[in-house]
Symmetry: D2
Subunit: 352 residues, 4 copies
């Protein structure tokens, strides 16, 4: 039984991991850590978990949290927490999976650039771990993840864009410059903290773009796509929020290279995705919406090339809280511990 | 392994059962039957089930559907279907669990009254089965359900009201005449069929009462409560629809008999509910909402007596599609086949 | 032209008044006052008002706000503001309409009780004004409002309950003890301030009761109903929140006195409401929902007596931000200044 | 007083026009025509209009509808109705404004192509009127509209895209080939007819693209933009539906020609839009969402050029039922009859 210490247990990313671990036959929670609700039960904070998960929340610096028996630490925490916490956890022989941008980059220089874009301290707290960290988009980095002590989970928007464009950039089915990622997220992507723009009356019939110069998401997208292409890729990214709770709908545009057909694109995606348990491809005339991945670890893309205008077009559907966050982290955990990759991730969600 | 034949597989009640059976270690689907989508896969109708449940939908009258090996038939169907289908299933040695009003009453006379209230043929098609059918509110009829060949699952509104009032009427904590059940349901309670009042733009910012003389729900509520009280109970029932999808919030009012205190009521509910795995009780100052039971087989009541005015008040929270429908049916199935009552029903739901 | 000074301009109650005044031919805004956004335009805070209302927000204590020319001051403010502000405004010759509980009671003693229930300072700041203040439920207090210098606007829940029960208590069509008010409000009733329970992901599929001992609403309901009945009336009040934005659906229960029939109730409501421009009555079989009053100053009640069980039942529909707040305040303003009561309140809302 | 005959009165586009005419000082309804609800009042179909608009609905072929005194006929009807109805109306001396694609094209050949794309009879019923019809995007065709007897109102998606790209294509600020229009609409855009994908439970937490080869919208977009550019423009159009009711959020992408800067784009939009009463431009760091145009005849664009990647980006916000439909039709009516263009369209909407 893999013992999991969960830091940031009380956020959406934390309870998402709790829910998944309850379904997992080979992993279990050994400790819940958070800065809020310390000393109380997680089910006091989240009554729907009463009877399911009544463990006490420990303070991050408590002796109990530090000395807990655990094989892996999941940092379901915002930027900055994992880089502070990981070195001691690694020293204690635990592996680390971090949800934030703290371990998505392999050098202090790249991190510095990223941190600057989100207005954080540019000096990474554990630069020595950056070199060995793996980027936790499992499908692309399965072998690194398998061996890694530290895994940096992808951002949810990045997940939708990178998987959505993967075969296209790898097989030269899209022009590499000027790709446009039009991404709409549900509100849970902003976390559980109330804010004016997430207040029910202001959000229920409202859609908007935001952080229009927010390039921090772009860095990991461009890095991964460039690596797949073997050449630099440039991306324009438009984050938008729509009045749903779970789900990202990313519509990805680029130019079609001469001679690339819809049929060729469909085949390339099929060849790549059919080997992956959580990736699915659909043709333009098959109906699919974000509710088809809601609550699931799947990512579904629709191929909708516009040959008339020479525009490559793919639509990517993902649940930001599952494949975009906790599900993807558990998928990495499975790989890191030699378990079947789909373990605990194969139950159907509830609809509607 | 209990083999389940599911009739009405494509409705919300059907897919709810499919989802639950995927999580159940001792029961599995042997056949999917519906009048819609025959010959296609269930996952063609519901793409979120692709890879989870790709079985073919059989026509009700097909030889394949009739001869399938099955231990139990779940009729996730509207009024009228189960009473036609059950006799042959029983003859073939299968047990039957029906979601509708077809087997909620134990005599042709009572059914006649019920059928009249919903405008249906008053002559029951299988009157001989009525005598032996059990009312599938497991907590109240565990022993009958255990032995029954036919179980009539309660209505979702009735579930919320009967459980909400159970200890009160049993222990004389409420006046038995003039009880008012103010019940608000999410939209999924109306099923998957589109209708003007369920059209997104007409529903998103709208709440209303409906069927204000619809006494058919009242019959099973009054029957069960009268049985618990040992005296006649009368109930006024106000069904209302609010713009959520899953959940029923029932606020139940009555008069306090002389000398009955809040403390006494709280204790009585605690005594009764603490023995039940799916029932929980909370005091008036503990926050609880329908989202705390969303996706779960639980029913939570809040005790909020108003001693100043002499009003008994309990608030009942339930997910109409789980404890109000498929979950309750699976709970009965577990009991009917000697399995632990919570089997397959003990996973935490996903939030938010 | 009536000149209006609006205090609390930036809340939902403030912008609701701004919207209405833009449609009013005989009243106009002379000053916008708030503690937030001072020095900026109201349309900076609320971009949808750009070009409609670009006036600068003044600080409450600024000389400009104090010396502005105004005939009436609308305090669209929470409890405590109006009682501090009103004396100086009255001295300056301005009338005052207050949205909060500050002027709903006519004596310091009654206010003390009310303030205690909401946890505020029990000593009113302007007790001398309480004696002359009018309770601004226009339909019931038209004559007092006409002459008043200070009007205390009713609470939105109270509005729905008092109007809903008015003819019943006045004409003896309901037992006066043990009336139950089951009230569901949209989220805008809680104001614009973000809070965990109003965060979109926590609210979108959730309904709950709250403040179950919150008797402060009850005081004005019981006072008004007792006055109409000429005898004491007691009320149990259950506030609930459902995932809509605008609207209150109040279902009101009581016992039918011997001999009172549905027909009699319907007639009594018709006799009373048909004289009122903003009140409408419907029979139980006419469909009506809160969306039928959304954006409008109307209040519609449905009569749905249950003669079988002897239960009186009325359902009251109102937009909490219009007839429940700003619209009602403007209706009072019209009456106070001798304008037609419906002026500026007679445009149809937008649907859906 | 301009007398308006409204055909298709009972749809969202019809009641939107009714609402606007109630606010208009110089135009009024002379007849309501529809195929549904004939002989009843409009307020029987839409109870929120009771007391506001209780006129009787006439059958299209009735003598009363034909002989009514009217100066203008608004066809708030789907494709195919206006082309049948208009000739007789024109002969009777009435002007015609049509919401559908029936009069958006100036030749039978262009209409044939359009009709083919939406699967309709390719032969126009009134080809002689096509030559003289004006395309009712008022800001671009004010002079034609002023003189026209027949105006074809733009589609709501087309409105958002054409206005969003207008100064860019006119002043050479975007490459004319490969423009991508990523358009998200609220559900009211699909009309009032219930359908599985618009059923509340299927839509409340779901976003999806649809009709991915639906080029019919593209025709008018490309025609107008090419006309503005003086050169052919090609557009890829992705219609998407998100769980809101009112509003379109269109994010428009293209390539920046060498030397075109963000500053230059912002100026060009300002120069063009500042002359227009209903068009507004915002810079990328000013927050704006569809709720800022909800209920209003405004269209707001945000300029968010990505100079790093050479991508032109504009975000267009519009209410599909107002500036995207009824509001725009009324704007045309004002122009056709020499009234101030903003008359009846200048009231602030209600928020939230």
């Amino acid at each position: 039984m893999i013992r999991v210490k969960l830091i940031g247990a009380g956020g959406y990313g934390g309870i998402g991991m709790v829910e998944l671990l309850m379904r997992h036959p080979e992993a279990s929670l050994s400790a819940l850590v958070d800065v809020q609700g310390v000393g109380g039960k997680l089910s006091d904070m989240w009554p729907y978990l009463r009877g399911h998960c009544d463990q006490t929340i420990l303070a991050p610096d408590s002796a109990e949290a530090k000395n807990i028996e655990a094989d892996v630490v999941v940092c379901a925490t915002p930027d900055g927490v994992g880089q502070t916490a990981a070195p001691a956890e690694i020293s204690a022989g635990r592996k680390v999976i971090d949800y934030s941008g703290d371990y998505r980059f392999n050098s202090a220089e790249l991190y510095r650039e990223y941190a600057g874009r989100i207005g954080r301290d540019p000096v990474h707290k554990a630069p020595e771990l950056l070199k060995e960290s793996a980027y936790g988009l499992t499908e692309l980095h399965r072998n690194e993840v398998k061996k890694a002590r530290v895994v940096g989970n992808p951002g949810c928007f990045a997940m939708s864009c990178i998987c959505g464009l993967w075969p296209a950039v790898q097989y030269g089915l899209i022009e590499l410059q000027g790709i446009c990622c039009d991404c709409k997220t549900g509100v849970s992507g902003a976390g559980k903290k109330p804010a004016p723009g997430l207040h029910f009356p202001e959000r229920y019939d409202n859609s908007n773009a935001y952080r229009l110069t927010g390039h921090q998401h772009v860095m990991e997208i461009e890095r991964e796509l460039s690596s797949l292409a073997g050449k630099p890729v440039s991306v324009t990214f438009t984050p938008q929020i729509v009045p749903m709770v779970r789900g990202i709908l990313s519509t990805l545009y680029g130019r079609l290279p001469a001679g690339v057909t819809h049929k060729r694109i469909l085949e390339a995606y099929g060849d790549t995705f059919d080997k992956e348990p959580f990736l699915q491809v659909r043709n333009y005339d098959e109906p699919v919406g974000t509710s088809d991945v809601r609550g699931s670890n799947r990512l579904i893309v629709t191929i909708a090339t516009d040959e008339r205008t020479g525009i490559f077009r793919v639509i990517s559907h993902v649940d930001n809280l599952v494949k975009g966050q906790a599900g993807s982290a558990l998928q990495n955990l499975n790989v890191m511990f030699g378990l079947p990759e789909t373990m605990g991730l194969d139950l159907p969600p509830q609809h509607p």
